[in-house]
Point group: C2
Chain length 185, copies 2
């Protein structure tokens, strides 16, 4: 591949959770171009929480970027730049759903939108759920609902669920454990 | 769910492909908060292109937001706010890989990162591929490679492929047609 090189990065705006830059890129043909770079400050973790009945806990919440409610797997930003995403995933699961996980394993590492943003989300599978206490952040207003895996797959293929971490996380769980689940039913 | 309401939206920065706003939100407890909103101007389409041998065409390209090369399904922004994403998908497939598709069907509608951005990507499955002519945009420098589905699944679960549209698109293809593919092999 021919070499593309960043020759300058200029901060344009500091937001609440992202900083926005303009990158001056030197292209292989010798010309330069201005490309956007949206820096997500902390990275995030998300969880596919599966109950002992094989149902999946999902959160419904209002999203200002879409101006509507979404159905998502529980997720949240890291508390600090050094927080282990597994610790973050367990914390967000309990804060948003009130459940602790007896068992957790990594499913995926995602970059949400590589064309202009560095945000990453590590997605975990949480099982052996134990009831705890929901403890939302002051700016969080969330409802928790349970769904069967097949319901979520139908909603993904119908376009009712579109959030990329949720689509990728549920499909990754299905791809890895789907056959075993179907055998059980 | 309690009501969250946006009471103001202020433009903070106009970038090359995104505009950045600060949203003033009225929360159910009566307080206000400033939330980021990154508006992707055009939306995009992506394609999982499957050859008659069952292999998948992938593009390798440099991404400034990650400062490294990525492995992605072919994708690109719409030419205009009214372009049909299916038309966009067919165009981007041919521009980036040099192949036309005899058959195309919708796999997914994605919102890449709902916490702060409205970017959407419609993901299609393209089959019956016919060799055409690669025709990259002036700022595009892309290599095309083919992979077996199982190779891509391994790379996704190993974290080698992290791009969310690619992870979701490949897993959606596997979830919908995986059994049929395994029967053929």
């Amino acid at each position: 591949m021919e070499q593309i090189k960043r020759i300058q990065r200029t901060l344009k705006y500091k937001g609440a959770i992202v900083d926005v830059y303009s990158d001056t890129m030197q292209l292989p043909d010798g010309t330069t171009a201005e490309w956007d770079f949206v820096a997500h400050r902390k990275g995030a973790a998300a969880v596919v929480p599966v109950t002992s009945e094989g149902e999946i806990l999902m959160v419904h919440q209002y999203r200002n970027a879409l101006d509507r409610e979404t159905i998502e797997i529980p997720a949240g930003a890291r508390d600090s730049l050094t927080e282990d995403t597994k610790v973050c995933a367990l914390r967000e699961l309990e804060e948003e759903t009130g459940y602790r996980a007896g068992k957790i394993e990594k499913l995926l590492s995602l970059k949400t939108t590589v064309a202009f943003c560095n945000e990453f989300i590590d997605v975990y599978l949480a099982t052996e759920l134990i009831p705890g206490k929901q403890n939302l952040d002051p700016e969080e207003f969330i409802d928790v609902h349970t769904y069967k895996l097949q319901e979520l797959l139908d909603m993904i293929y119908a376009g009712t669920i579109q959030d990329s971490k949720t689509v990728a996380g549920v499909l990754a769980y299905y791809g890895k454990y789907g056959n075993r689940i179907e055998e059980k039913e």
